[in-house]
């Protein structure tokens, strides 16, 4: 309970106090409490299995209940962990990028966004999922709009329109499900849906849900809102959303498609299998290609995110244990990579004031630690053995081979080569080019920013070598998801 409650209480408290410094301290306290609670939940789930918690004392289908299984626990850990890193890091960066009178609003919104994402993850009720989706979306539009670049507002507005369409579609889908089953609880839906699955209403509802969540996931070709959003948002927001937002949407996809509708309906009767595999592959290839030619590093990473989402969706589409394990694992792993990369870029922004690739020349000499973090996370993004990126791609290839789809395995390799090209371009500029003669002398970023970057970069290596914890959890989550409705 405390996982969601901490940021929920922190947000109004921050506004009530209305001081920027106090806001940061409160936010930090909230995320630490939330992270600790997530750890406790993960511990409990791994020992005793899924947890249910009935809110307001009304048992499940009548009231709203939380439901946390392996998958939920992993996502909660990911999101709260990233939040701790981001909030610790935030203070210097926010002081540079956000005017003081608005800083406490900024932290308030950040807390709301976090609470929304956590609320979506922990809930066992589809309508409640929608409500918290709205909280997280609404606050993220505002956060993105705070970017210093004027284009940030445009990006936020574009996202607002797309996101609202997505949310309405999800709501229509939920409405159709309620119409046919009379319930909103996920477990109850899973029981009652098969009876009415063969109706047009449910099919249409399923379609609406797919498109709606697809928009939120930034599934190709519904990803057009994403690159500008990540590119122009304030550094802290890029890092937080880049590492968590689409992941939670992927989680929602897993919960609804596999958890509620079940594998056989989603991937058997409905054409979701072909859709996810096809669009996932297209997303990987096209977004990676765009990334290769992008000059703004944040935008480049944004396109790379679309490609990574493609991998996750691909894994779900495969519908075998290894494929789904790869997707779940990639939720966690990608959060580590993109978290580290975007935070590192935020530090670059802090010192240099630009993230255009030509301004990064010789960064390796000027900010060696930050540049090292970029290198590690970049290698992880490519999928070099010894990093987390390798582990999830390994499972994905296994899953593809298991389904006899060897071209997909080749596609994963091709995607990695493209990633190699765009990451290498970055690494080359950072490490092997000399800084421009007129470049101002700069130091390493402040320790407060550097520490979270290095911790995340180190996590990329640690969980890449020591895979038992994450891969084990992901595998059990995948098995549970695939078995429920068999």
């Amino acid at each position: 309970m405390l996982v969601v409650l901490a940021p929920l209480v922190a947000a109004p408290a921050i506004v009530l106090i209305g001081r920027a410094r106090a806001a940061w301290h409160l936010a930090l306290a909230a995320v630490v409490a939330s992270f600790a609670a997530a750890c406790a939940i993960a511990w409990k789930v791994s020992r005793e299995g899924a947890i249910d918690y009935a809110l307001g004392g009304w048992e499940a289908p009548w009231g709203i209940a939380y439901h946390v299984d392996f998958l939920g626990a992993l996502v909660l850990l990911t999101v709260t962990g990233i939040a701790v890193a981001v909030v610790t890091y935030a203070r210097p960066s926010v002081e540079r990028e956000i005017p003081e009178s608005r800083r406490y609003y900024f932290y308030g919104c950040l807390m709301l966004c976090l609470a929304g994402l956590l609320g979506m993850t922990i809930t066992g009720d589809v309508f409640n999922l929608f409500v918290f989706l709205e909280i997280s979306s609404l606050s993220s539009y505002a956060l993105i709009g705070m970017g210093r670049d004027r284009r940030a507002l445009n990006a936020a507005f574009q996202y607002l329109v797309m996101g609202t369409i997505g949310a309405s579609f999800i709501l229509i889908g939920i409405g159709f499900m309620y119409m046919m089953t009379g319930t909103l609880n996920m477990a109850d839906l899973a029981v009652r849906l098969p009876e009415v699955a063969d109706t047009r209403t449910i099919r249409a509802g399923f379609a609406f849900l797919t498109v709606g969540i697809g928009l939120k996931v930034a599934l190709f070709p519904l990803h057009l809102w994403l690159p500008n959003v990540y590119a122009y948002a304030p550094s802290v927001v890029s890092a937080f959303l880049g590492a968590t937002a689409t992941k939670v949407a992927v989680y929602a996809l897993l919960r609804i498609m596999l958890g509620i509708f079940g594998v056989e309906f989603s991937l058997g009767e409905m054409p979701l299998h072909a859709l996810l595999v096809g669009l996932g592959s297209l997303g990987v290839v096209s977004a990676s290609l765009v990334a290769v030619f992008e000059r703004n590093v944040k935008r480049m990473l944004a396109y790379s995110s679309v490609a990574q989402v493609g991998y996750m969706v691909l894994g779900i589409g495969l519908a075998n244990t290894d494929g789904v394990t790869a997707s779940i694992l990639h939720i966690f792993n990608h959060a580590l990579m993109k978290g580290a990369l975007f935070l590192a870029l935020g530090a670059v922004m802090y010192r240099i004031g630009s993230v255009h690739i030509r301004d990064l020349a010789g960064l390796g000499r000027r900010m060696p630690l930050t540049a090292a973090a970029i290198l590690v996370a970049g290698l992880s993004l490519i999928g070099v053995p010894g990093t987390v990126g390798f582990v999830s791609k390994w499972y994905l290839v296994l899953g593809a081979l298991e389904s006899g789809l060897w071209p997909l395995a080749a596609l994963v390799l091709f995607g990695s080569i493209l990633a190699l090209i765009y990451i290498w371009r970055l690494v080359e500029v950072v490490w092997f080019e000399r800084p421009a003669a007129d470049a101002p002398a700069i130091d390493e970023a402040p320790l407060q920013m550097l520490a979270p970057i290095l911790v995340l970069a180190f996590a990329n290596l640690y969980f890449g070598i020591n895979t038992d914890l994450t891969a084990g959890l992901a595998q059990r989550a995948a098995e549970a998801l695939l078995e429920v409705n068999r």
């Binding site: 209305g18 307001g56 009304w58 709203i64 005017p99 009178s101 608005r102 449910i202």
Partner: protein, 322 residues
């Protein structure tokens, strides 16, 4: 009624005069409210009338003061959006063909969870209005979420536009005009609107209404005051900084009730522990929570209005469109 709705929407979309479009949207909301009324959904109708037809029209109009009245012609062709909208509509119709008949008492939506809400709701929650019972108790956590959505909206607007809290030209914007009629009517009206707001707030457990509607109605009263008597007077009644604090306080009341349930040994938002008699506890909890909602919604609407009206000052160099 539905035909009227369609006509209004088409008119609103085709109009390039944004002022007219805003009013048409107000009419649209009002028609929807009547439709809801027709379907016996009194609480929803009430909300739609207060929020859709009332406050959002005012907000749209005050935005228009900033942007100018007429829309620019779009250059891109409407083909793609039309196809998407057409497909969506088709999917909706397709989905409805297998749905249970309208008003069918055997439909799943009426026989599963709703059955308990209707049959046992008033007894279990101590509140005769079932809608309030479901809203504030059975699904109280969702409602908490909704209040947070409102809070987020207020925060977002304040953050993006920036509030003008500190002094400077504290005299503020002038009133609409020194119209004696407006002042007299306003004075009389405001008192009744506020009284009605209070009634809706505290009578939500018996009749239609509750915190959401009451908050909006109360805010309307202050907005009318602001429009008629000028911002300076309105701010003397309700300083800007307090509107945002009120949202936070309202939400903390709601959260506090929830946490109190936890401290007394139940789950979060369990009101039955608040009093020795569980049903009394439920009732008390619902009242408190509704109060929190009312305060928060009032604060949010006021904050959003203030953020927009605060921006009016710089452009007040003469060209006033509305």
């Amino acid at each position: 009624m539905l035909a009227l709705l369609v006509v209004t929407v088409i008119a609103a979309v085709r109009s390039t005069d944004l002022f007219a479009a805003a009013i048409l949207f107000g009419i649209y909301s009002f028609l929807t409210a009547i439709l809801f009324m027709d379907l016996d959904a009194v609480d929803v109708a009430f909300t739609e009338a207060a929020v859709g037809a009332g406050v959002s029209t005012v907000l749209l109009l005050s935005t228009l003061r900033l942007t100018g009245r007429y829309e620019q012609r779009h250059k891109h062709s409407p083909a793609l959006p039309l196809v998407v909208v057409g497909l969506t509509g088709a999917a909706l119709v397709y989905g409805m063909t297998d749905a249970p008949d309208f008003g069918d008492p055997e439909a799943p939506a009426h026989t599963h969870v709703a059955k308990r809400y209707i049959e046992d709701g008033p007894r279990e929650t101590g509140v005769p209005n079932m809608v309030t019972g479901v809203l504030a108790s059975y699904r109280g956590y969702d409602t908490l979420g909704e209040v947070f959505v409102v809070f987020t909206a207020g925060l977002a607007v304040m953050m993006l536009l920036g509030t003008r809290v500190r002094g400077g030209r504290s005299s503020g914007r002038e009133a609409i005009g020194d119209l004696l009629v407006l002042r007299v009517v306003g004075k009389v009206l405001i008192a009744f609107v506020m009284l009605f707001g209070l009634y809706v707030q505290f009578h939500g457990d018996y009749g239609a209404g509750g915190g959401f509607q009451a908050g909006v109605i109360f805010a309307t009263a202050l907005i009318v005051y602001d429009l008629v008597f000028g911002e300076a007077d309105a701010r003397r009644v309700m300083p800007h900084i307090w509107t945002e604090r009120l949202i936070a306080i309202g939400i903390l009341i709601y959260l506090g009730v929830g946490v109190a349930g936890m401290l007394l040994g139940g789950p979060f938002l369990d009101y039955s522990k608040l009093a020795t008699d569980p049903v009394k506890g439920e009732h008390l909890g619902i009242l408190l929570v509704e109060f929190g909602i009312g305060v928060a919604v009032f604060g949010a609407v006021m904050s959003i209005f203030n953020a927009f009206s605060g921006l009016r000052l710089p452009s007040e160099g003469g060209r006033d469109d509305v």
